[in-house]
């Protein structure tokens, strides 16, 4: 009993490490492969559309609502202290430092990440990847690399859009409905938001999340067991693993950026 458990633990460990190794190799092949601009650029544009532009709607809507909720919740607390003039910085800092990058990454993992995993898993199941290899075309460069870079480029941009829309949402609720002074909303925000500390750090977070989410989504698809069950499992794993990884990385990055 004990020995078999020990064996299973060992097998699981080996599997996990081997999986990480395969992921690293895949990523290395995709990211550091010699890029072919003539063939690669149109593929990248297409994936930017699929991964980035098509995620725009969910990002806009979520950003607006989260900004509105922040405005409402922030107002009810701040007004008790007569500090509703600080609503602007509250909304802006929450979004810039945390909610913008994190919620965008979570939504992105659910919207684009799962779709990528399923797409690549299905390509594998229908032998499209194998047949590409047999045609002497490297699937890492043809399939993985454009999707990876499209994600890495579009996610920080989506996070910026999310944050901007969220700030407008906070304005909508705080200023237009609850009567916070528009001038103090914006000027307090200007006075309290720092370009380096807040804006750049948020963007850096978002870039790190983009790497994490894309690596997980593409690896899970590329490594999926090529059956309908296997693809379903891989898709679920993408969303779960990527979400947890984003939250874990967020804590580490927050500690590094704002902790000291």
């Amino acid at each position: 009993m004990f020995v078999s458990r020990l064996q299973r633990l060992g097998a699981d460990t080996i599997q996990t490490v081997a999986g990480l190794g395969r992921a690293a190799l895949m990523l290395f092949g995709a990211v550091f492969g010699k890029p072919d601009v003539r063939k690669g650029f149109p593929l990248l544009i297409k994936q930017l559309y699929v991964v980035g532009v098509l995620s725009l709607l969910i990002i806009l809507v979520s950003g607006l609502f989260i900004g509105m909720v922040l405005g409402l919740q922030g107002y009810t607390v701040l007004v008790k202290f007569g500090a509703e003039g600080m609503l602007g910085p509250l909304v802006a800092l929450s979004l810039l430092r945390e909610l913008g990058p994190v919620v965008t990454a979570l939504l992105f993992a659910g919207r684009a990440g799962s779709a990528l995993t399923a797409e690549i898993g299905l390509m594998k199941a229908t032998e499209q990847i194998s047949s590409m290899e047999m045609m002497a075309v490297d699937p890492l460069r043809r399939i993985i690399a454009p999707r990876f870079w499209a994600g890495v480029i579009s996610m920080p941009l989506l996070a910026i859009v999310f944050t901007a829309v969220g700030i407008l949402g906070g304005h909508l609720v705080g200023v237009d409905w609850l009567g916070v002074d528009a001038g103090s909303y914006w000027s307090a925000m200007q006075a309290n938001v720092d370009l380096h500390q807040d804006v750049f750090n948020g963007i850096i977070k978002s870039i790190v999340f983009a790497f994490v989410v894309m690596a997980i989504a593409l690896h899970k698809g590329f490594d999926a067991v090529p059956t309908s069950e296997g693809i379903a499992k891989a898709t679920t794993e993408t969303v779960v693993t990527a979400s947890l990884a984003v939250l874990a990385f967020d804590f580490v990055l927050t500690a590094l950026m704002f902790g000291g």
């Binding site: 063939k39 390509m123 229908t126 032998e127 499209q128 194998s130 047949s131 590409m132 290899e133 047999m134 045609m135 002497a136 075309v137 490297d138 043809r142």
Partner: protein
Amino acid sequence: MERILSDLMVDIQNLTFSRGERLIYDNMSMQVKRGQVTAIMGPSGIGKTTLLKLIGGQLKPEQGDILYQGKSIPKMSRAELYQTRKSMSMLFQSGALFSEMTVFDNVAFPIREHTKLPETLIRTMVLMKLEAVGLRGARDLMPSELSGGMARRAALARAIALDPQLIMYDEPFAGQDPISMGIVVKLIRELNNALGLTSIVVSHDVPEVMSIADYVYVVAEKHVIGEGTPEQLRQHASPLVQQFLKGEADGAVPFHYKAAPYADELMELL
């Protein structure tokens, strides 16, 4: 010796390969002669597709060697392997057409990837290949709009797009209606002769294979159990080969999966 070497397209020497715990090939040898249609037959689940992937270098054997035109596939570097693969192609069972491209773009894909030919020339080449498989009119359809038989023919057009020297067919007859089966049989033979190809057909459809193959290997239980021209094979002494060719339900390969005696199991509950 020199002449014999160049006569062989693929030479599999003492191949041993296993998947996980399961041994698939044990010290198996096999030769494919240039210009011929060589068939590999055997019951399902013995790893015939695996064999094609081994020849294509997608899998590596544990022991033994696979020579392609005299060069060892398992020992090649990645770059050499990719270079070599340009002269071979494989028709997958499902066709494996790229689902996001039209039939035309699918056939043009290998040409566009590996050459810098102008688009007008590519168009001519693609139309020639599509004409050869009778799908010139279907060039603007998406793979999802094709029937199974048409998808396989479109995939065949893609497989011959770069005029390979070796083409491997993975179960080309499986799941085809009689008409498209007849078309595929005719195409394999005609393309082999017209383009001077060497073909490897992996299949378990006995009559179709026997009608087009120049040489047949029957593989079962990790070994080649019989080989020869279709004529020689019909006279083969092995009961296993005869059972397979005639499609008998019981014989050297028993009908029943390994089990305890029937009577004993029925009595157990009483």
